[in-house]
Amino acid sequence: MLSIERVEGEYGSYTVVPEVLSKGGVGSIHRTGDPRWVFKRYLRPDKAPDLRHLRQLVEIGREVLVRQRAEPGQTPESSVNWPVDIALGRDGSITGVVLPAIPPALFNEFGKPRGLEFLVMARAHPPAAKGRVALLLRMAEILAFVNARGLVHGDVNGKNLAWTVLPSPVMYLIDCDGMVPQRPPPMAGVHALGWTDPRVLDGVVPAHDHYSDWHALALAMYRGLLLTPGKLDAKTNGKWQAPSQIPDALSPRIAYLLHRGLDDPLDAQRRPSPGEWANALVEEYLPAGVFRNSSLAILDKISTPRQTFTPLPDDDWTDPGARQRTSPPRAAQTPRPSAQPPPRSQPPPPRSQPSPPRPSPVSSAANGRLAQRALDRGPKWHILGVLACFYAPYIALPYVITGLVQLRKVSSSEPRLKSARTSLRAYGAIAAIWLLVIVISGISGA
């Protein structure tokens, strides 16, 4: 049986469960007796951050999380996993830090924090543009706050931001105990595949600085808005490549910021600041506090994964008549220059396929085919319906009754069925009342 350990921090003592919740290259995470906090134990003292820097972070963390008791994700400052206490060994070396527990809503079905990679990689089925914009806006606002406090995160990557869109969008910056001041620029640090500042790879700077955070933010915008792999941390023929997957349909302002952030990866001064990103996203997609659906629709369109098959119309595939009427397949549409990787090898098919439903032997009219067509034509039929009710109610009524009978045969999964039924009943009522008025006025006149 594992024994509970007592760890003394500078602000209090904590019971620490030896069982490891997660383990990284620097340390392991353990539960404490207080569900609000976890303990991060450094694997070796030399893996621990600088004590002076850590104390600065703890000071902010205690102000935000202990004194103000701000909920994670509520404000930019409470969206940072600040350390709130430090544990020192007998020799004065740092053995670990106390951190806020990551809120359960930010964990995915695999029991891990739902990282930024699940937001920016098409294969992870990220939310639609609205959710992505909201979360990327939060990311920019959080980094703007970190930046304004004169800090460098230094390892912004696909795992170090956790997010959720339910019940409302929350972005949360994690792995923050290694944050350092911007001045003097950091001399050492870590970096992750796909998120490394080309200046570090080229030896222009020894470690990630705050401009590297800005670079990672530009990468997140590029990948997250367009759902393109956007792996730009390797040279081609000895040269850094500018992003090649920015479509013409993207907002010119966003495209301009992407070019500024990524075209010349060695020119850090040109990179847009987090504040610039936040302003641009708000003005382009959320002006006056309301989502601009037209801009989001464009983003959804240009970030849709490439189709591998020619899209087929919605149809009743159980109806043999429908199959005969379907046009022969056209040549596959030329896909848009895709941000997505080309399709990989196809997985083998499932070993057994369910049997297709048997086609019904009845005619297409009996299958509600006429009503289905009427549904497909939409508004035109409504205008005709209203006119017919007033000008020829005696003709309209039988049609309404036929229509209702037909609708009973349309698939119950048809989303327009309910509104079509309501409309037809309304027409029927109008026609009946109008017919009654005509008949009564005829009788009275007589």
């Binding site: 990679e117 997957q245 990989r344 083998p348 070993r351």
Partner: protein
């Protein structure tokens, strides 16, 4: 715009698993329990899923490609069954075919690392034919897809043979229980795929292949001087 631009470099991995009769019971069950975990790794770690392409092959009297090289996140993983004898040559021949067809199936222009094979066996070659000729063809340096072969031996595996199969790295499982041995080998494979996929280095280059074979469970075997 070039569609292959800005893609992650693909890390092709081929698992070649001994399914001879001695694997019956616990060991094959451990393999069948671990393969879905490998698929879960691809789903729960999108960066690894984006980079690693995995094929699963078995060998006994014959070699079989159970899952061709693919993105395992979308693949159906069939149950692997125990078969008969142990024919390394059949396994290596099937492996060569699977590498050729798997690499050809990747979209043209996809950046790709040298394939890595994880070989695991609990026994010795029992067929009449010479297995070393088939291994020689697999390791023929003129073949453009000649893979890095990492070999794991357990149970009654012959240490020298395991060393011979590997290009650089070979390991012997320590635990006496074959079920634990298989489980630890599968954990080592999953960990190695995860770590290598998220590393900056080419797996074919020195220190580019990150093997997660903890000393607690494995004895590294010295490479043969070739």
């Amino acid at each position: 715009m070039e569609t292959t631009a800005e893609l992650y470099t693909i890390f092709p991995v081929f698992l070649l698993i001994d399914v001879s009769a001695s694997m019956a019971g616990g060991p094959i069950e451990a393999v069948n329990a671990a393969l879905p975990e490998l698929k879960t790794e691809m789903l729960s770690n999108p960066t690894v899923g984006e980079i690693a392409r995995v094929a699963v092959l078995t060998f006994s009297d014959e070699g079989r490609t159970v899952v061709p090289l693919c993105d395992l996140a979308g693949a159906q993983i069939p149950e692997i069954m125990v078969e008969g004898g142990t024919n390394f040559a059949a396994g290596f021949r099937e492996l060569k075919k699977a590498i050729d067809s798997g690499m050809a199936s990747l979209p043209k222009g996809t950046p790709v690392y040298r394939p890595v094979v994880f070989f695991m066996s609990d026994g010795e070659h029992m067929a009449r034919e010479d297995w070393q000729a088939a291994l020689g063809q697999l390791r023929d340096k003129s073949w453009k897809f000649a893979p890095e072969v990492v070999a794991f031996g357990f149970g009654d595996a012959n240490r020298e043979v395991i060393r011979r199969v590997a290009t650089r790295f070979s390991f012997e499982a320590k635990n006496q229980d074959p079920v634990v041995q298989v489980r630890e080998i599968m954990n080592a494979l999953i960990g190695s795929i995860r770590t290598t996929s998220t590393s900056f280095r080419d797996p074919a280059q020195a220190q580019g292949l990150h093997l997660e074979a903890p000393a607690e469970y494995f004895t590294p075997l010295p490479p043969l001087q070739t």
